[in-house]
Symmetry: C2
Subunit: 250 residues, 2 copies
C-alpha cells in the first residue's frame, strides 16, 4: 500500500523532497510553495517544484510559465525552467484542458505523480518542493505515498482552526513516517501602509500553542501583502522581495 | 427540469426568497448570509435563514444554535429560533453526523431542500435568506431550482477573479429567470486600528468595472474585521455592530 518509488528517473538525483500541505484551499499553499522554492533558489540551491495541485493550475502561472510545455529528451521528460533556473513540472502542463483536471480522482492523480517521479529528467536537485492537493484527505495522502519525502510543511491561515489542521497533518506525516518540518501561517497579519502598524486581521492567532502541542515549529508568519498579491496575479513570483522570503529558509 | 415548489408549507407565507452564492468556499458567504439576515431583522422584518451549505455547517453555529434541533408540530417541522427571533433551518440540524454531509451529492441535497421548503413551518416571513453550497456549479443551481427565488446575491473576495464569478452567477440567474440583486465584496479592505487608514489588502479591487459590465450593483464592501472574526468564532453573529450591517440592506 505504501509503495514508494525511491528510484526516480535514472538521470536524476534529488536530495530533499518536501511536501507542502494545507487544511483546505485558499489559504495560499501554492503561493507559499512557490515562495519556498524561490527562497531556496536565491540561497544558491538547485531547486525544482512539482505541482500536484489540480485546483487552479497556479504553479506554472506564478512562474510566468503558463504556455510552457514539458519537453522530451533521451533522458526523459524535460521540465520547464523558470527565469531563476527553478525546474517546474505541473500536472497542468500535460493537460490539454486543465479544467478537466478537477475530475481527476486520487488514484489517477497519484499515478500521474508516480509517472512524473520516474520519467522527469530533474537532473541534480538539492530540493524538490511538491505542492500537494489541498486538504488532509486521502487525495494528498496517496500522492505523498508515491514520493520519498524528507518531510512535510503545513500552510495554515488564522481563518481556520489551525489545531485541527496541524493535528491531521501530523497524523498523515506519521502514516508516511516522515517529520512535519514546521508550520507556515499565511495571511497572519497586515501591515498598515500609512503608519506601519502590524495587526492580526482575523483576530489573535493561537498558532504558538498548537506548535508546542504537536512539536511542529513555526517556520514563518507571512502577512497579507498587496504587493505579493500583485506579483501572484501577474505571474511574477520570482520578483518576491527579500522581506517576503525572510525566515522561510534557515 | 425546472420544477419549482411554489407552494411551500401550507401554514407559511414567505414574501421574498433570496439566494446567496459565491464562486468558491472561504470567501465568507455563510458569514455574509448571516449578516444579511441580522441586518433585515434589525430593521424589523420577519426573517428566516435556510442553510443549504454542507461545508462547515456554520449557520446554526453563527447563531449560537449548534445543539438546536428542528421541532415537530401539527403544522410541520418547526425551525430553531435565534435570540433576535430569526428562524433557522439547516441541513446540518437534521444530520446525526454532519461530517457525512460532504458526501451528499447535488440530487440528495436538492431533495432535502425541497423537503424543507414544503415541510417547514416558517409561518409569515418577509425574507428568507438561503445560504447556498459554494461555487457556481450544478450543485447550487439544482438547489436553487427548487425554490421560488426573488433574486440572487453574489459574495466575492478580492482574492479571486470577480469577473468570472459574477459572469457565472449572472448566467445561473438567467437560467433561473431571476435577477442578480447585487454583489457583496467581502474582505475588501482592512482598517488600521492604530491610525484608521483603510487599505486594500489584496491589491486594488476591480469590482466597479465588473458591476458595470454585468449590470450588477455593488451592494456593499465589507472589510476584513477582527471583531467580526471573533463574533463568528464565538457563534455570536447577532452581536454584529451597526457598522458591520451598514449598506447591506437599503
Ligand atoms: N500573503 C498573502 N498576501 C496576499 N495575498 C495572498 C497571500 N497569500 C496568498 N495570496 C493570494 O490568495 C489567493 C489564494 O492563494 P493560493 O496560493 O492559490 O491558495 P491555495 O493554493 O491554498 O488554494 C491567491 O490569489 C494569492 O495571490
Ligand atoms: N469580513 C470578514 N472579516 C474577518 N473574518 C471574516 C470575514 N468574513 C468571513 N470571515 C471569516 O472567514 C472564514 C470563512 O468564512 P465563511 O463565512 O465560513 O466562508 P464561506 O461560507 O464562503 O466558506 C470564517 O472563519 C469567518 O469567520
Ligand atoms: Zn495605520
Amino acid at each position: 500500500k505504501f509503495v514508494v518509488q525511491k528510484n526516480g528517473n535514472e538521470h536524476s538525483n534529488i536530495k530533499n523532497v518536501v511536501a507542502v500541505v494545507s487544511g483546505k484551499g485558499g489559504v495560499g499553499k501554492s503561493t507559499v510553495s512557490a515562495l519556498l522554492a524561490v527562497a531556496l533558489r536565491r540561497q544558491g540551491w538547485k531547486v525544482g517544484i512539482l505541482d500536484a495541485d489540480l485546483t487552479g493550475a497556479s504553479i506554472p502561472y506564478l512562474f510566468g510559465l503558463k504556455t510552457a510545455k514539458l519537453g522530451v529528451s533521451e533522458k526523459g521528460l524535460e521540465p520547464a525552467v523558470s527565469t531563476l533556473g527553478i525546474k517546474v513540472v505541473s500536472i497542468a502542463l500535460v493537460m490539454d484542458n486543465p479544467e478537466n483536471a478537477v475530475v481527476w480522482r486520487g488514484p489517477l492523480l497519484s499515478k500521474a505523480i508516480e509517472q512524473f517521479w520516474s520519467d522527469v529528467h530533474w537532473g541534480e536537485l538539492d530540493y524538490l518542493v511538491v505542492d500537494m492537493p489541498p486538504g488532509t484527505s486521502d487525495v494528498p495522502l496517496t500522492v505523498m505515498q508515491k514520493l520519498p519525502l524528507k518531510g512535510v510543511v503545513v500552510v495554515t491561515s488564522p481563518q481556520e482552526m489551525a489545531r485541527s489542521v496541524v493535528k491531521k497533518a501530523v497524523h498523515m506525516a506519521e502514516l508516511l513516517k516522515v517529520p512535519v518540518l514546521g508550520v507556515i501561517e499565511n495571511m497572519s497579519y497586515a501591515v498598515c501602509p500609512n503608519c506601519g502598524h502590524r495587526f492580526a486581521v482575523f483576530g489573535p492567532s493561537h498558532l504558538e500553542e498548537v506548535a508546542v502541542e504537536f512539536g511542529t515549529p513555526v517556520i514563518a508568519q507571512i502577512p497579507i501583502d498587496p504587493v505579493l498579491a500583485e506579483l501572484t496575479d501577474a505571474g511574477r513570483i520570482e520578483d518576491a522581495t527579500p522581506s517576503m522570503l525572510d525566515n522561510l529558509v534557515g
